[in-house]
Amino acid sequence: MTRFTPHRMSKSERRRLVTGLLFVSPWLAGFLLWRVYPLLSSLYYSFTRYDLLREPVPVGFKNYVELFTTDPKFGVVIYNTLYYVLLGAPLGVVSAFLMASLLNTKIVARPFFRAIFFFPAIVPTIVTAVVWQFLLNVQFGAVNSLLQGLGLPTIPFLSSPALAKPSLILIYMWAQGNAMVIFLATLQDVPRVLYEAATVDGANAWHKFWHITIPMSTPVILFNLIMGFIYGFQEFTLPWLLTGGGPNNATEFYAIYLYRNAFNFLRMGKASALAWILFVIIIIFTVILFKTSARWVYYGGESE
């Protein structure tokens, strides 16, 4: 560790400090301007009543108290978001991992299949929303037309409160190209010798998958799971465009409710309180995941 002792620094060391700081100064300035200052002021706003038109008025813990006691929607929003994140993030990881595993076997035209599996991840969300809304429409959507053609009943994917969240999760699993590519790179980095040794010992394909592939991938599974959690809690655009929070508030997620409070109801103070609660929830989940990771993540050689 280099200890930070300015008075003891040699001339060249001081010059390198100045050079380094100059190079990172854009980020440093942005960090203070677009991160630290907004972070602190949103903490302050969360203890105020603020409608954009008048100056913020301090109200103590009122926003927080309101959320946890009298706001009937807060519980619904928390439930929806936890449902979506706790189910969606792991399923997204499973989907990405299985696609990557499939692509990592000996197959013809791997780049072609990889491209197809990856593509949904970079399509504009507005396009994803418009297309899936059309596909899943109860009356004339292609999926329901197909079901009808097969003599099956139609499914109200997006218009039934019970099915809206699972439908969103399915679409989320379909757009896992980024995580899939990261998994694929990991799988290709697993040393060949491990598999060869296992083959010599008489292991079959399933044993190899379960005892070599999965353990060697656990650090990346953790990485993708954490990313899934962090972004899952902030999910806004797809549900906003696809279901607009409905039907009957079934897809009213945290970020949507927060947006409404800020820009539709002009309750900036309450929105800031919501944002800070979200921040704390995300930190708690990340810490819990890291804590449990000691038990299931395998870092080559450290422990079994």
Binding site: T2, F4, R16, L17, T19, G20, L21, F23, V24, P26, W27, L28, F31, L33, W34, R35, Y37, P38, L39, L52, L102, K106, I107, V108, R110, F113, R114, I116, F117, F119, P120, I122, V123, P124, T125, I126, V127, V130, V131, F134, F140, A142, L146, Q148, G149, N178, I182, A185, Q188, P219, F223, I230, Q234, A262, F263, M268, A271, A275, W276, F279
Partner: protein, 305 residues
């Protein structure tokens, strides 16, 4: 480090056939199952896009037919022109590309490269702590800074301009800083040392040596930040309210809302699908020409952090 190449070359049909010939019956069944899953999955992935593009060529009677029409007949190519002209999409694409995507991409690439150089190739006390903070900021949810940022930009008089979307890009984007740092670290230090002995400044080394050597990584950053801007919906939704400032995403959403609240409009779905197709095509092109770049770029961020 492993000695093998990072990517397995794809098997050609003939080597694949030779491998299959040697398999037992059970082996054949496994192969059959594998390819069945692969093909069924691939079809599910492509189908929505096929449906989008084919529906763009239909008229209303073909849209509402059960069972669905898979191959539009007649195919109405004019839909693309009419749909595009039904709203000021020329203005929206100009806004998206010229006023938003290009400036924010330029800002992102240069600022992120500068910062990444400072984190990767200059040794200075406190560097690792600051780099850790830089990474940690990626965990801050957008919503926490959303309200105060809106206030700041309002005070600056930047609402309804592209400045709130473009200016922050000139302060470095942590995700891309990380990506470029990983890449810069792989360039041998001796190259920089040789240049330093010749009297080159650090800025010279970055612009004349490191950046030319990092073209693949810089391309990834440029491509990703361009696509981010092309796809961004939430940022424009917050900062742009005047229809003359709309980007493509807002334009399509606006078109859809118009159709939703006015069910008598003819060709609503074909038009929506036509515009969606047009907006998706540049991404298809960028992706199929730069697939390797995309994949390598994402792989760079995966591990080693």
């Amino acid at each position: 480090m492993t000695t093998q190449a990072p990517s397995i070359p794809s098997d050609t049909l003939s080597t694949e056939w030779r491998r299959l010939k040697k398999l037992s019956l059970a082996g054949w069944l496994v192969e059959l199952l594998k390819y069945t899953i692969l093909i069924v999955l691939a079809i599910t992935f492509v189908l929505p896009f096929y449906w989008m593009a084919s529906s763009a060529l239909k008229n209303d009677s073909q849209i509402y037919t059960v069972p669905p029409v898979w191959i539009p007949n007649p195919a109405i190519w004019r839909n693309f022109i009419d749909a595009w002209a039904s709203q000021p999409f020329n203005l929206y694409i100009f806004n998206t590309v010229v006023r938003y995507a290009i400036p924010s991409t330029i800002g992102t690439v240069f600022s992120s490269a500068l910062v990444a150089y400072g984190f990767a190739r200059v040794r200075w006390p406190g560097r690792d702590i600051l780099f850790f903070i830089c990474l940690a900021t990626m965990m801050i949810p957008f919503q926490v800074t959303m309200v105060p940022l809106f206030m700041i930009f309002k005070q600056f008089g930047w609402l309804n301009t592209f400045l709130p979307l473009v200016v922050p890009a000139f302060f470095g984007v942590p995700y891309f800083i990380f990506m470029l740092r990983q890449f810069f670290l792989t360039i041998p230090e001796e190259i920089s040392d040789a240049a330093r002995i010749d009297g080159a400044s650090e800025l010279d080394i970055l612009f004349r040596i490191i950046m030319p050597l990092s073209k693949p990584a810089l391309t990834v950053v440029a491509l990703f930040s361009f696509i981010d801007a092309w796809n961004n919906y939430l940022g424009p939704l917050i900062y742009l309210n005047d229809q003359r400032q709309y980007v493509l995403a807002l334009g399509i959403e606006n078109m859809r809302r118009t159709f939703m609240y006015n069910s008598t409009v003819a060709n609503a779905y074909p038009y929506l699908m036509a515009v969606s197709t047009i907006v998706t095509i540049p991404i298809v092109i960028a992706f199929f020409f730069g697939q390797r770049t995309f994949i390598e770029g994402i792989s760079l961020t995966g591990m080693k952090g």
